[in-house]
Amino acid sequence: MATNILEMRDISKEFPGVKALSDVNLTVREGEIHAICGENGAGKSTLMKVLSGVYPHGTYTGDIYFDGAEARYGSINDSEDAGVVIIHQELALVPHLTVAENIFLGNEVRGRFGLIDWNEANHKAQDLMDRVGLHENPVTPVGQLGVGKQQLIEIAKALSKDVRLLILDEPTAALNDSDSEHLLQLLKDLQKEGITSIMISHKLGEIEWVADRTTIIRDGQTIETIDMSEEDSTQDRIIRGMVGRDLEHRYPPRIDHEIGEELFRVEDWTVHHPTQPDRVMVDHAHFHVKAGEVVGIAGLMGAGRTELAMSIFGRTYGRGTTGRVYKRGEEIQTRSVSEAIDNGIAYATEDRKKYGLNLIDNISRNISAAALKKLSSRGFINGHEELSVAEAYRNNMNIKTPSVLQLAGNLSGGNQQKVVLSKWMYTDADVMILDEPTRGIDVGAKYEIYTIVNDLAAQGKGVVVISSELPELLGTCDRIYTLAFGRITGCLDVSEATPEALMTLMTQDKETASDNDADAKETDR
């Protein structure tokens, strides 16, 4: 039996208003590849940030033992000194510096007089690059290399720090198949050299291939750790662990309402990456929503959910976008945001603080921001009318604030989301696309948001809810599309949908996806 290199015991971490981790236990054996699985927001990344000292000792409760000794990291430097290196999903490389400069950034090779010895540095970099199988010149600027190669540079950088425990946060999320395979093979090779790895991943096939053991985290708690060599350690078991939870009383009952005619349809929608034109982010996607219907789009991180929505909403994401959009059977154009709004489409963004609200302006002006046309004549705004509109929404949507003149930045997440929804409702949109409408808000406020979604449907609007939380979709939607790697992989009626069935479709890779595509289209009609 191998010894444990890492033990995390009863780790709890709270953010204002949210308990991100509660009594999480994680044990990693020396020399293994350990996968961590869970839905978005389950607490995987938080746990890794606790481990690597991003959240320093004292900001969480519980104990960490690394290599038999208690670890109290005050910063990321402390954990790196101990040999724990984390590679984040968003790579931390400086694009204009060379490969060698990046590898030794903050850890420069010193020669005489404390100056950097570039010959030695480049030479050492070449050795490290050989180890990770990166065949490039060490003086090439990193920005000229693809994401797959950049990922390898991150690993080379970790190796330069004498890494013992390597943590990778969704390392293959942005990689194509051959790059992914190369990276995973590298992890296996490093394993032979005695390096232990923790890998957060959504791709169950990969986990099955490389991981020795898998820990499943859900809602900030450890569900179980599975030995992947056991016979019943199937993908189904992981999926069950990731999604299973009590659904009762967390969603308002659906009001009986008529589902009417088709309201909105997207066909053959393809979107390319804005800076890497050959990368397809959304691949011939199609969906429709009827009046009074709530339709879900389920997909994991990187599946192309936001890319799909934003490209439809005034081409605000991507380039080379092709496809057709229909409203009540007529083809419409959505080339700019104002055109989309004029056509009755609204899009409430995923990150409301960054993209949805002007936090340094007041609630009233945020609510009116997308529909100033309604409040103005000949370019002049009716300020009194604006305030009474805001007051009306404050009452109807139950926005908890002493005054609509408060800054939006002072509101809690749930109330901010109500402001965003008010803003789009005031545009009189009949198609509402809500991207992660309940992310980062507490359970009580979530219930209120779901109630609002129900009300919107009851008013005959078509609502599209994008979410990675399956229970949320199952609790609020009439129909759910699944999106994986830019493709619609299925469409299930809520009566026949189960978390397991959805997760299977959401993790489906390209080969199987194309087989099922025909079926999916069938269901869609």
Binding site: T349, Y355, N358, G379, F380, I381, H384, S388
Partner: protein, 392 residues
């Protein structure tokens, strides 16, 4: 919900905005004492208005640029070019004075359109575009003037900035016309305030307590009428003050009541959120820069009129005064926050300080040090206040 806001609530809600008025009054009082009242004499008050009017005109445009999240370093050069073109047409070519005025303003508009094109449609940051513009328009000014100064303008032209409206209604030792104009303005202000309050109550909004409201109106009226009395005791109503008053009223309305103004705040506050709310960001940015050019043109005409000629080096460092006025007046460095009235008060703080120190005979070098420190402290207060309020 109808409610009555108390004094403390009003103060804390608008600490930044009201703080600036308090600071202004304190500075005026300080220098009035230090100069034995000379600061507030009829002659000197008139001088302050004449001497700093073009900075205030620039500050109006600059605060809008800053609210939009940009900066304009070229306004001094643009103003110089506007004055130069006007001088060449009027002094050299002998054209009527109003041709010079129109041409000067047109030069500003063209310069603004040029810079707006690069900022809005090509996507060059305003800092770079206007740094280039600063060199470009300065060079053109030298070119247009052939490296020499031109003067004098005909008297109609120089009266724009140095002339007065007076004597129309007579008066013994003081100008009745000035008092009447100010009296009408104060009456209009009262009517506007009362109507706004009535509308606010009709729309069920929180308003200040009535005695407090009345007190504020009377205080404003008293200060304004005292100022009018001082002006009337010297030479009457300066033309340039009329121009300034019109600009302040127009741009206060533009920033607070129009869709364009709202969009400027929106893109400065959160560019992505504004884009995703359907704001036509490019056109708004173009409009911001175009407007700055227009006002730089106006400032150029006023300055050339005041100096009664055009000099190749005119308007040097005007941009820094205008930027300083905006920030002292409460505009946020990151954009999205600011007020035209704030920028005007910020400009007046700079003006009163410069003027007061000149009256006291403080050395030029010390004056610069003091102005620099005031700017730094004003922005430090802003940062501190944001931390206190936001806690983020």
């Amino acid at each position: 919900m109808t409610g009555i806001a108390n004094v403390r609530e009003l103060m804390t809600r608008n600490l930044r905005q009201s703080g600036i008025f308090v600071a202004f009054i304190a500075i005026v009082a300080l220098f009035a004492i230090l100069t034995d009242g000379v600061l507030l004499s009829p002659t000197n008050l008139t001088n302050i208005v004449l001497q700093y009017s073009y900075i205030l005109v620039l500050a109006i445009g600059m605060v809008i640029v800053i609210i939009g999240g940009h900066i304009d370093l070229s306004v001094g050069s643009v103003a110089a070019l506007a004055g130069a073109v006007s001088a060449v047409l009027v002094i050299k070519e002998g054209m009527p004075w109003w041709v010079g005025v129109i041409a000067g303003i047109l030069v500003g508009v063209l310069a603004g359109a040029w810079q707006g094109f690069w900022v809005a449609f090509v996507g060059i940051p305003a800092f770079i575009t206007t740094l280039a513009g600063m060199l470009l328009f300065r060079g053109l000014t030298f070119r247009v003037l052939d490296n020499i100064s031109l003067s004098p303008f005909p008297s109609e032209y120089s009266k724009i900035a140095t002339g007065f409206q007076n004597g129309l209604l007579g008066g013994d030792g003081f100008d009745v016309f000035t008092l009447v104009v100010f009296g009408v303005a104060v009456a209009a202000y009262f009517v506007q305030q009362f109507r706004a309050r009535k509308a606010a109550i009709a729309y069920k909004q929180t308003v200040g307590a009535f005695p407090l409201f009345l007190l504020k109106l009377i205080a404003v009226a008293a200060v304004v009428m005292w100022f009018a009395w001082q002006l009337a005791n010297y030479r009457g109503l300066p033309n340039v003050l009329i121009i300034l008053a019109i600009l302040i009223i127009v741009y206060t309305i533009v920033t607070t009541r129009t869709v364009f103004g709202r969009h400027v705040y929106a893109i400065g506050g959160n560019l992505t959120a504004a884009t995703l709310s359907g704001v036509k960001v490019k056109w708004v940015n173009f409009g911001i820069m175009l407007n700055m050019g227009l006002l730089a043109g106006v400032a150029g005409v006023i300055f050339s009129s005041r100096t009664n000629g055009a000099q190749p080096a005119a308007g040097n460092l005007f941009e820094l005064d205008a930027i300083a006025a905006s920030f002292i007046g409460g505009a946020a460095v990151t954009g999205g926050v600011g007020r035209v009235t704030g920028a005007i008060v910020g400009g007046l703080i700079m003006a009163v300080m410069s003027n007061g120190m000149q009256l006291m005979g403080v050395e030029q070098s010390i004056q610069q040090v003091v102005k620099g420190l005031v700017l730094l402290l004003a922005v430090a207060f802003d940062v501190w206040n944001k931390k206190r309020a936001g806690g983020r």
